[in-house]
Symmetry: C2
Subunit: 417 residues, 2 copies
């Protein structure tokens, strides 16, 4: 370790003068040792080459652990045996500084490809972890019982266990690329992120030399079915669902939306496609309540169900806009990055009706051959308000789209029923 | 609105000199107008009386929306029809500045009780939202089919729908109370939170006059079964499960842990207790992977399953400690706050085996009469490693606790099986 002098004064922010990081990051450089590792650890501040730190929002808990004396501030992770359980990439998209801007494509294999930096005592950590698991969902057991899926003894077992490769991905934002994606200057992005979070991370302003930011937000998890390397083969059938978190439905089965039923249907499509020699992918993104958070979501539920005339497909979007100022804050523009990380160039069956997701993916250069709507019998009665409103607003459907008069007839349950 | 001059310079932080907030917060004051609202909005910076802003980690998405020109920075929420769908409190614990320190007890009814401030053009928002819903889980339908639960046509309907009152709660930290809870000074807490997040929120350092912090972390959701007001009646039977998020099991049914099966069992206990004239409560806390985040969790899975001798109950905790430096970062010390917010003073059936949760709750002054372990037949085979390790480390059980030799025999599946 470098010599450290005991420092007791508090630095409110840092400045680039004379403290250019030892390890520059050249985003998109195809040669890892030139690209350089993301050094976001706090064990040796002088080595850091990013703004923010690891674990997204959980960085706050880590700070609490250090403050409470439970975790030594110089703890370095022992990464023995933690390397990816399946190899992913490198793929050509990794070398395009504009194609992947919200995650680090080298994040899973950083300890391997950047070993030369470890030998220089640089402490960096993987921002992606890849493991293997068995999952078992009641809805998939039902699909077996109903004969829609047949156990094959390997991918899908007789007890309903499904073998998956899964990965957790931390957000790593390359600010020039994020800014370009949204058509703004990097300095406008930096200033916006700083000022409209209530002053989070002054280094967004004072360190224009640092172009990588690890925002304290949730990341994503992906579940791959079948051979992971087949995801990148455009001639192997691929089923994909991109799913934004909805705790109320995904975990608790709330009947006001279609989130869990559609997710379970997506997993069923993935298993079926993988059993047929293809592969499947679920991407689960931590964007609760359209990235407005659950407090806003529940406020909107009350406003919807109490409005004059009751909950109605005709006024579905307005209620969110009244409370939140926007209908949606999910920024699907960043979502395709993970597909490019996996080397995907073609999706054969896209298990989503969202026009925003579809358009973001195809605009990023990935082909979508077929769109798979949720089966009608999986839509809870109270979720028809959302479903009809979304179809009228551009969601994909093979069926009719309601006109204004019909939308006004699609009603949800009241609050006290 | 107050006159605003166009300001174009960037302020890196603020200082207390001459800008004492117009609305002080007197945490724990029983009179709401003296307590004062939490003003965390950014529409009028001079009115703010806290550090940080609303929506936890989703504040970053909100900032992106403003930067991208999708959301006007002066948007004020239209809160019409959003007030709580059930009345909760006030309860005596709301008046104790040390009893509730991690949420704002007035957060759900802020627009009502602080109306006088709205009339002074102060823009503040609720930090808690209370609504009503129907939930429907396959495991609960199975409980009906198996005759363990009987539909009553009201709380539990023939199709498996369960009526709940639910609330989403944003974190609101009263820093002196948090510091006291962990036995440190407020200034050590502030400095730790600032420095070990990589320099988040310099106001933690420069605004010692602001004692309330809205950290950018996930909050919690609660699901109440039966009469919400009965939660506070110590003579009405109450079943409670306090559940820490585990996306891999809660949503996807991973078999490496017992999270979803135990959660479903907890809901079943809540329904049964409510049907018998009592009430039930599930608290769901966003603390993925013991608040270490999912990347760390998956790294640990790999280390567990690849270690010499394979995954074993004998070495279960060490693998987390190698990677993360601690076994756990959930800080159960803050968790009882939500129980006090609900007026709970006695839990009749506590559906959790965690000694950390049990001890935190009873130390906070709430009585626990009975602890309900997970039924043996709900434990997936691969989850026995975790279960036996935790029982040996102090988890509640009515059965035998494995000795070191037996723990070494409890083995999990390998990565590639």
């Amino acid at each position: 370790m470098a010599d450290k002098k005991p420092v007791n004064h508090i630095r409110l922010t840092s400045h680039p003068d004379g403290e250019t990081p030892g390890v520059p990051i050249r985003w998109g450089d195809p040669e890892p040792l030139r690209r350089g590792p993301v050094v976001a650890t706090l064990t040796e501040p002088a080595h850091r080459n990013v703004i923010g730190t690891h674990s997204g929002a959980y960085a706050v808990y880590r700070a609490l652990a250090v403050a409470a004396g439970k975790l030594p501030q110089d703890h370095r992770a022992d990464l023995k045996n933690t390397s990816p359980a399946a190899q992913i990439g490198p793929y050509p998209a990794w070398n395009d500084p504009e194609r992947i801007v919200s995650l680090d494509p080298w994040g899973a294999i950083a300890p391997q490809v950047f070993r030369a930096y470890t030998e220089q005592d640089i402490d960096f950590r993987p921002t992606i972890a890849v493991t293997k698991a068995h999952i078992n969902l009641p809805e998939l057991r039902d699909a077996v019982a109903a004969g829609r899926l047949k156990p094959d003894g390997d991918l899908l077992q007789a007890n309903g266990d499904i073998k998956v490769t899964k990965a957790a991905v931390e957000p790593v934002w390359f600010l020039p690329g994020i800014a370009k994606r949204f058509g703004m200057t990097e300095s406008a992005l930096r200033r916006g992120l700083f000022e409209h979070t209530g002053g989070m991370f002054p280094e967004l302003i004072t360190r224009p030399d640092l172009h990588v930011f690890l925002p304290p937000i949730g990341g994503l998890t992906l579940y791959a079915f079948g051979r992971v390397e087949a995801l990148a083969d455009r001639d192997t059938p691929l089923a994909v669902r991109v799913h934004d978190e909805c705790n109320g439905s995904d975990v608790f089965g709330s009947d006001i939306c279609t989130c869990r039923p559609y997710l379970a249907h997506g997993i069923e499509e993935c298993v079926r496609t993988a059993q047929g020699g293809g592969s499947g992918l679920i991407v689960y993104l931590r964007k609760e309540g359209r990235a407005l958070g659950e407090v806003t979501k529940f406020l909107v539920y009350n406003a919807r169900k109490r409005q004059e005339g009751g909950d109605s497909a005709a006024t579905y979007f307005q209620r969110t806009e009244c409370v939140a100022g926007v209908q949606d804050m999910r920024f699907q523009e960043l979502m395709p990055d993970v597909l490019h990380w996996l080397g995907i160039t073609r999706i054969h069956r896209f298990v989503s009706m969202s026009d925003m997701k579809h358009d973001a993916i195809t605009r990023s250069g990935i082909e979508i051959l077929e769109r798979v709507p949720i089966p009608e019998d999986l839509i809870p009665a109270d979720a028809k308000v959302e479903m009809e409103a979304k179809k009228a607003a551009g969601y994909f459907t093979k069926g009719p789209v309601a006109d204004a008069a019909t939308l006004a007839q699609v009603k949800g349950r009241g609050l006290d029923v």
